[in-house]
Subunit: 419 residues, 2 copies
């Protein structure tokens, strides 16, 4: 009986050509991150449901795949609460597991710790084109480094990884949560209003300046106008003027914030000088996650409407698990978006070793063994059907050359397949 | 507030040294399998719960992590069945997903298809030392190849992968389900009794011959004695006598079964001649899974009490998903057992670039950049605390050399760390 063999709604099977591209992207990124001293860790796919629902995940907490407690069966009693049935969930990002991991293992890790994570996460989102319920995230985090070394290094490592993949035309956008807060406070917005202000400003990409003004209509007009005016005036700021202009724009801004931005800017200039890389200070960059506490950054690519990487400093998040504050900064590459931008991977040569039915199998295996000893790919295949058609199929399957074995002919001759 | 940061019961965090060993094992196996033409595929972690509970998974079906339907909340009505709450589950092996994958994608795959799978599976087993509820499986399967080429190639590829990892002293055990069935039938056991007979024989490793005889006491004595006697007589059979002896032992045995075993034996001899590899025909090898239909094999290692790899032919399994029979044969490496046998991975050189606080960050980053340009690992670290203590920590963290940057000293001198 034929069954429906589709994977579950919103998930997908990955065929060899897709996996080859993904493996190539992963290996390239991993090699760059290793050169920067980042070490890969792994955490389980499942986490305690209370941890996943702890408020750190924002909207993602509504999208958790929840796992039933073991040992339940038969029928449930009346008024059983759904929450009583569940004890675990599939992780929806790699940040919640990282903070737990660090809390659990910090004593065995170097300080600072350079963490590299790569793995699937799950979100029960409404399925739509190009978005899947299981997808891969790729994060680096520098934990325990309070200085702006973290920001500068993470930006360099990430742009270096993207460059190693052959992506050109990437552009870095830089902002700072402390600067944004100071600007809004200096404009006269209360703390509550500031949060609303930045939630709306974060949508600028989608709704434009008019949309932003409309959505901010409920807040006090004068502070909003002042804040928006100062933000707008900073768009397109020249690189060498960033530090001075920010200090001028918000006189109450902490000197350290200015000094740190100036350092990051200097390092960005250094990196941009070596690569085809643009960067800008972008006062409209907010980034959604509530946990950021300092500099924030995103990377864009001309062929992608949304960003291909994003991150920032989050100095208070690890403390929630560990019980004492540990500074941290992270950068996440949008792995699935990068894979979509690259449509192929370096192809591998492959020799098809075709043998007629009267050739002993051991001989065919031996010929293939000799080819593999030179680190080549060799695939043993029995002759079947019409020769021309079979050669066509071999070529279509990616084989690049042929060794054809016949009884009574001891020669082993390799010839190219196809054009 | 400090929280309990342990991972969920029965799961574990993997620290950098563990991940490095695992990555090394995976890369080594993958390189060998690629040379044999196996192509990696991926399937989602989640599968439809009805498919997972379809009977193919044997005892593993009792260990499924079940996923709650989305959209449930609040309290449940009386007599809600637990099964009504669940629509998905986490896969407990890679074979059930492979048969679905092949049914879903066969039109886009070459025939025969050489599949390589590597990924986590989940089983809610009682946690115990060395066994985890999330662990990795590593399978190769040759789908669509009816001839014994499949068996011979899978055994060679798998032994080659283990040899590439530096594992020596491995031993292959070979048997055949068709031979076992013929032997038991020829001894006078009915089909039902044959199944019971092999379920018990499969436990020989654990309970010994006396235990086997005791557990078989309920079956007709004469056929059981005859079958056991013939099985016992075949233990330790010399390689060059396998085919003839099996045909003599069970005169009703199909000639093709004998011919195919002779071919596999010939190929095993060829492989064993090149490597330090032992092999034997083992009539007591049964392998638990009900779906095997032909030759079956396991690989043992002197340092492991259980097998490190196992597989066999399963010609009827894919048909259950596809609606028509497709021959198939597979071999699974016990990835976690292999990782346990190897305690370290090739280590990587790493330069610590230490800079005093009066050295500009940009200079330290630039020095590290120069080192990385030679494909080396360079890690930038601010000087802190006592120099001797910090150098000790750097060495303990795995750094192998040091560049120490001080203000007013423009030299960049690298010196080894530690002994």
């Amino acid at each position: 009986m034929k069954m429906d063999n589709s994977p579950p709604r919103g998930t997908r099977d990955l065929l060899p050509p897709s996996v080859a591209v993904r493996d190539h992207v992963f290996a390239t990124i991993a090699e760059v991150y290793h050169r920067f001293g980042y070490q890969r860790i792994e955490t389980p796919a499942l986490e305690d449901i209370r941890r996943l629902s702890g408020g750190q995940g924002g909207e993602n907490e509504k999208l958790i795949f929840q796992v039933l407690r073991r040992g339940l069966s038969g029928s449930l009693e009346a008024d059983t609460a759904v929450t009583d049935l569940v004890d675990l969930g599939l992780r929806f990002d790699l940040t919640v597991p990282l903070t737990r991991f660090y809390g659990n293992n910090h004593a065995a890790l170097p300080l600072p710790f350079r963490s590299f994570q790569f793995g699937p996460v799950w979100r029960a989102e409404r399925p739509q084109k190009g978005r899947y319920r299981q997808f891969v995230q790729c994060d680096i985090d520098l934990i325990g480094e309070p200085s702006v070394l973290a920001e500068a290094e993470l930006i360099e490592a990430t742009t270096e990884a993207l460059a190693a993949l052959g992506l050109s035309g990437i552009a870095v956008r830089l902002s700072d949560r402390r600067f944004l807060s100071a600007l809004a406070a200096d404009s006269g917005l209360t703390e509550v209003d500031r949060r609303a202000f930045f939630t709306v400003l974060d949508k600028l990409d989608k709704i434009g300046w008019d949309g932003v003004r409309k959505e901010l209509a409920g807040l006090p007009a004068q502070p909003v106008d002042s804040a928006l005016e100062r933000v707008a005036a900073l768009v397109g700021l020249a690189a060498d003027k960033v530090a001075d202009t920010l200090a001028d724009t918000v006189p109450t801004l902490d000197e350290q914030v200015v000094a740190e931005l100036a350092t990051t800017v200097g390092c960005l200039d250094q990196v941009a000088g070596r690569r085809e890389l643009r960067w800008e200070f972008d006062p409209t960059l907010v980034r959604g996650m509530g946990y950021y506490t300092g500099q924030i950054f995103e990377i864009g690519h001309p062929a992608s409407t949304s960003s291909v990487a994003g991150g920032g400093r989050y100095d208070q998040l690890i403390g929630r698990s560990l019980g004492r504050e540990v500074p941290a900064c992270g950068f996440s590459i949008g792995f699935e978006r990068i894979v979509d931008l690259l449509d192929s991977s370096p192809s591998r040569q492959s020799v098809a070793v075709l043998f007629e039915s009267d050739v002993p199998l051991a001989r065919a295996l031996d010929v293939a063994r000799g080819l593999r000893a030179d680190d080549r790919t060799a695939v043993v295949l029995p002759r079947s059907g019409k020769l021309g058609a079979q050669l066509g199929r071999l070529e279509a399957a990616g084989h690049t050359s042929l060794v054809y074995l016949r009884a009574g002919d001891e020669s082993v001759e390799e010839r190219p397949l196809g054009r």
